[in-house]
C-alpha cells in the first residue's frame, strides 16, 4: 500500500433488490485517519451501503477496496483490516459477554494481550460487572455497547459503525467519542452512520449525505 492509497474505497458500488435499486453507483474514498459521517433519512440506504462495504451483502456491481485489498478477490486480507458494528448486534445464545470478546479476538488471531484489552474496554464501557452474563439478558443499550466492543476488541484499520449511539446513554456516547478520537489519532479510518448532530460536530472530518441511494452532498466540516 502506497501512502496515497485510501484506507477504504468503493468504485461504482450499486445494490439492487429485485426491481428496487437501493444504491446507485457510489464512489467513495476515505483516507487513513479520516472519520466520515454518513447522514440521511430513514430508508436512504445507509445500512445497505455499510452492509455492502463490509461484504455482508454482496453488491450488485462495483468494487470495494480495504487498505488496497479487493474484498471480493482478497477477502481474508481485507477482513483483517475491517471491523463492522451493525445497528442491531446479535449474539450467541450460550456465550457470555467475556466469551464473545474472546471468540472474536481468537477468530482474528489477536489473543495476545487480550485479557488486558478486554478488561479495559469492559470497564470503560461499564460492562465489567456483567462480563459473565449472557447477552440475551442485557438491556438494549448494553447489547449495543457489547456490539461496539466486538468491533473494538481487535485492531482494525477501517471501522464501520451503523448508528452507534442510537441506544447509548450520555456517558456511553462520550466514551465512544473518546474511543473513536483515539483510534482516529492512531490512524484508523472510520465510516459511521448517525443522526446525532453532536457526534457529527465533535468528530466528523467529512459528512456524506445519502438521499434515495445516492450521495447527494459531500462536505468537510473541518474546512468549514
Amino acid at each position: 500500500m502506497t501512502p496515497t492509497t485510501p484506507a477504504l474505497q468503493t468504485i461504482g458500488l450499486t445494490k439492487k433488490f429485485k426491481d428496487f435499486q437501493a444504491l446507485y453507483p457510489i464512489d467513495l474514498s476515505i483516507a487513513p485517519g479520516e472519520l466520515v459521517v454518513l447522514q440521511g433519512h430513514n430508508g436512504s440506504g445507509k445500512t445497505t451501503l455499510l452492509n455492502c462495504i463490509s461484504y455482508l451483502l454482496p453488491p450488485t456491481t462495483g468494487n470495494i477496496k480495504v487498505m488496497g485489498f479487493d474484498i471480493i478477490k482478497q477477502e481474508k486480507e481485507a477482513r483483517e483490516h475491517l471491523a463492522y458494528v451493525p445497528d442491531v448486534p446479535r449474539f450467541f445464545l450460550e456465550l457470555t459477554a467475556w466469551e464473545h470478546l474472546r471468540f472474536i479476538a481468537a477468530a482474528n488471531s489477536t489473543l495476545d494481550g487480550f485479557d488486558q484489552r478486554a478488561e479495559k474496554l469492559l470497564k470503560d464501557f461499564g460492562l465489567w460487572h456483567v462480563r459473565e452474563h449472557f447477552p440475551h439478558h442485557f438491556s438494549r443499550g448494553m447489547r449495543l455497547k457489547l456490539g461496539l466492543l466486538l468491533g473494538l476488541i481487535r485492531p482494525s484499520n477501517v471501522l464501520l459503525l451503523d448508528e452507534p449511539t442510537s441506544a447509548l446513554d450520555t456517558q456511553g456516547t462520550e466514551l465512544l467519542v473518546e474511543e473513536l478520537q483515539r483510534r482516529k489519532e492512531q490512524g484508523s479510518s472510520i465510516l459511521l452512520s448517525s443522526h446525532s448532530p453532536q457526534l457529527t460536530s465533535q468528530l466528523a472530518d467529512r459528512t456524506l449525505e445519502l438521499v434515495e441511494g445516492r450521495i447527494a452532498s459531500d462536505s468537510s466540516t473541518l474546512a468549514s
Binding site: 433488490f17 452492509n51 463490509s54 461484504y55 455482508l56 451483502l57 454482496p58 450488485t60 477477502e75 481474508k76 486480507e77 477482513r79 483483517e80 475491517l82 471491523a83 463492522y84 451493525p86 448486534p89 446479535r90 449474539f91 450467541f92 445464545l93 450460550e94 456465550l95 457470555t96 467475556w98 466469551e99 474472546r102 471468540f103 472474536i104 481468537a106 477468530a107 482474528n108 488471531s109 489473543l111 459473565e132 452474563h133 449472557f134 440475551h136 439478558h137 466486538l150
Partner: protein, 551 residues
C-alpha cells in the same frame, strides 16, 4: 357505571380471543364460521357427524385395549379396575393442576395482555370468572375422553361381544354416563385449583402460599392409597371407613352400580362445584393481574409456539431458561483462527448438554448394532433412514446458529467453508465414535461380520450431514441472512441425505460379490465428494448473492 364498562371491555376482549381460538382450530379442518353459505352449514354438519363417529370408533378401539388389561388382571372384578382407573385419572389430573397453578398464576396472560389489560383498573373478580371457562373446557376434553373409554370398556365386558349391536344405545350410555357425571367433579376440581393458585399468587415467596396446595395434593394421594388398599387388598381401617364408603359408592355410581343414584352423585358434584366457586370468589378479591402477567408471560409465549408448531422457538426459550443468567469461563485454550469456532462449539455444547444428547448417542449405538445384526436388509435401511432423520434435527443446530449470526461470523477473516465444515462435522464425531464401537462390539459378539459397514456407514453419515447443510444453504437468501433469518432443511435435503447413506448399501444388496463391494465403497466416496462440492458451491453462491440453480 365505570365498573360495568370495564366488565364490558373484559367481556369483549375475552370473547374475541375465544372466538379466534375456535376459528384457529376450525381452520385446521377447513371450516370458516364467517362463511354464511348453505354448503358451509352442510359442511359443518358433516364435520360433526364425521368426528362423532371417528371419536366413537377410536374410543371403542381403545376400550378393547383396556379390556386386554382387564384380562391380565383377571382375578379382580372389572368394576374395581375401572373405578380405580377413574380415580387414578382424577388424582393425576388434580396433582398436575394443583402443582402447575400454584407454582405460577393459573390465569395466563400474554405480553399484549400485560401492557394493554393488566395495567388497567379492571374488576379482578370479574376478570377471573370471565377467564375461567375456556381453560376449563380445554382441560375437560381429555378427561371426558378417558371417561368415555372407561365406560365403553365396562360395556365391552358386560355385553356379549357378538350381540353388542342389540344393546347399542345402552352401550353408548355406559360411556356417556361416566362422562356426564365427571363434568361437575372436574369443574369443582379445576375451580379449586384456581382458588389455590390465586391464594399462592397473593402470598408468593412465603411458605403459606404453598400450604393449601400441599395439603390438597396430600389429601388426594391419601384418598388414592386408601382406596387401592380397600379395593385390591381388602384393608379398610376403621378411621378411613366412612371416607372409603362414600368414595367407593361415588365411583361405582359412575358405572351405574353402588348405593348412590345418578341424580344423587350429580347433585353431590354440583354442591362441590358451588363450594369451589365460593372459594374462588373469595380468593379472586385480591387478584393482581399485573403480578400474574409477570409470571405467565413465558408460559403464554410457549403455548402460542406450541399452537403454531414453532418447536425450534420453544427449544430456544427452554434453553435460555436452563442456562440462567451467568456462565463461568473455565475452558480457555489459546485456540486461534478457525480453531476459535471449535472452542466456541465445545463451550456451547457444554452449556446446553442434556439427557436427549445421550439419548441420541444411544440411538446411534442401538441402530447400528441392530443393523449389523439384521444385515443389509430393507428393514435395516428403514432404521438407518430414521437415524439420519433423528440426527438431522440436532446435528445442524450449530451451523444454523452461526449462519443466523452472519454479521458476526462472516466478518472474521476465516473462510466461510472452514467454519461451515467445523460446524457440520465436529458434532458428528461423537456419533462416529459410537458407531465404530457399536460395530466392533457386534463383530466381537456375533459370527456375521460385514467389515465394509465400518467404511460405508461413517462416510455415508458424513455425506448425509453435508447434504443437509447444503440444503439449508440452498434455501437461504443472503438478504434474509443479513437479518438473521435462516431456513431449515427441506424434504429434498433429507431425501438426498438418506440416499447418501443408503445408495452404497443398495448397491451392495443388489450385487453382493467383490464387484459390488468395490462399487459400494466407490459410490460412497463419490457421494461424499458430491455432497462436499455441493456445499462448497452453495457457499460460493451465497457469498456472491446469487439465486440457487437447484430446484
Amino acid at each position: 357505571m365505570i365498573k360495568d364498562q370495564a366488565k364490558l371491555a373484559i367481556d369483549f376482549l375475552r370473547s374475541r380471543q375465544e372466538y379466534y381460538d375456535l376459528r384457529y382450530w376450525l381452520a385446521l379442518v377447513s371450516y370458516d364460521p364467517e362463511e354464511r353459505t348453505v354448503s358451509n352449514q352442510f359442511y359443518l354438519l358433516y364435520l360433526i357427524i364425521f368426528f362423532t363417529i371417528w371419536f366413537f370408533m377410536v374410543l371403542i378401539f381403545a376400550a378393547k385395549g383396556v379390556l386386554r388389561f382387564f384380562q391380565l388382571a383377571s382375578p379382580m372384578p372389572a368394576i374395581t379396575i375401572v373405578s380405580t382407573l377413574l380415580l387414578l385419572s382424577f388424582v393425576i389430573f388434580a396433582v398436575f393442576v394443583f402443582l402447575s397453578s400454584s407454582l405460577r398464576s393459573p390465569l395466563i396472560f400474554t405480553e399484549e395482555h400485560r401492557y394493554l389489560l393488566c395495567q388497567q383498573p379492571v374488576p379482578s373478580r370479574y376478570l377471573v370468572f370471565r377467564w375461567l371457562p375456556a381453560p376449563w373446557l380445554q382441560s375437560l376434553v381429555v378427561l371426558i375422553l378417558i371417561c368415555l373409554m372407561l365406560g365403553f370398556s365396562l360395556g365391552e365386558i358386560t355385553f356379549p361381544a357378538d350381540d353388542i349391536a342389540s344393546y347399542f344405545l345402552v352401550y353408548v350410555w355406559y360411556g356417556l354416563r361416566v362422562a356426564l357425571l365427571a363434568i361437575p367433579y372436574h369443574f369443582a376440581l379445576f375451580t379449586s385449583t384456581w382458588a389455590v393458585g390465586l391464594y399462592a399468587l397473593r402470598h408468593r415467596g412465603k411458605f403459606k402460599a404453598y400450604l393449601p396446595m400441599l395439603v390438597l395434593v396430600l389429601a388426594v394421594l391419601v384418598l388414592l392409597v386408601i382406596f387401592i388398599l380397600f379395593a385390591f387388598f381388602g384393608l379398610n381401617p376403621t378411621i378411613s371407613e366412612p371416607v372409603v364408603a362414600v368414595l367407593n359408592n361415588l365411583l361405582l355410581s359412575f358405572f351405574g352400580q353402588g348405593k348412590y343414584s345418578l341424580g344423587f352423585s350429580l347433585m353431590f358434584g354440583v354442591i362441590l362445584s358451588a363450594i369451589s366457586l365460593l372459594l374462588l370468589w373469595l380468593t379472586a378479591k385480591d387478584f393482581s393481574p399485573a403480578k400474574a402477567a409477570h409470571e405467565t408471560q413465558t408460559a403464554a409465549l410457549l403455548s402460542s409456539f406450541v399452537k403454531y408448531g414453532q418447536f425450534e422457538a420453544i427449544e430456544l426459550v427452554r434453553r435460555k431458561r436452563r442456562m440462567g443468567l451467568t456462565g463461568k469461563s473455565r475452558f480457555l485454550p489459546d485456540w486461534q483462527n478457525s480453531k476459535a469456532f471449535a472452542w466456541k462449539m465445545i463451550l456451547q455444547a457444554r452449556r446446553t448438554l442434556r439427557f436427549s444428547d445421550f439419548y441420541l448417542l444411544l440411538v446411534t449405538f442401538l441402530l447400528t448394532f441392530g443393523f449389523q445384526l439384521m444385515g443389509n436388509t430393507p428393514a435395516g435401511w428403514l432404521g438407518l433412514a430414521s437415524w439420519v432423520w433423528m440426527l438431522s434435527r440436532h446435528l445442524l443446530d450449530y451451523f444454523k446458529q452461526d449462519l443466523s449470526l452472519w454479521p458476526l461470523t462472516r466478518q472474521v477473516p476465516i473462510p466461510t467453508r472452514s467454519w461451515a465444515l467445523i460446524d457440520l462435522l465436529l458434532p458428528t464425531i461423537p456419533h462416529l465414535i459410537i458407531l465404530m464401537i457399536s460395530l466392533c462390539l457386534s463383530f466381537a459378539i456375533f459370527p456375521v461380520r460385514n467389515w465394509v459397514f465400518l467404511l460405508l456407514l461413517p462416510i455415508g453419515l458424513l455425506g448425509a450431514i453435508l447434504q443437509l447443510g447444503q440444503d439449508i444453504l440452498r434455501k437461504t437468501q443472503i438478504e434474509f441472512l443479513a437479518m438473521g433469518t435462516v431456513q431449515s432443511f427441506g424434504f429434498r435435503g433429507l431425501l438426498m441425505a438418506i440416499l447418501c447413506l443408503l445408495t452404497p448399501l443398495l448397491i451392495l444388496w443388489f450385487s453382493p460379490g467383490f464387484l459390488g463391494l468395490i462399487s459400494s465403497v466407490l459410490s460412497s466416496a463419490l457421494l461424499f465428494w458430491i455432497s462436499y462440492t455441493g456445499l462448497e458451491s452453495q457457499l460460493k453462491r451465497l457469498q456472491l448473492g446469487q439465486e440457487s440453480l437447484l430446484f
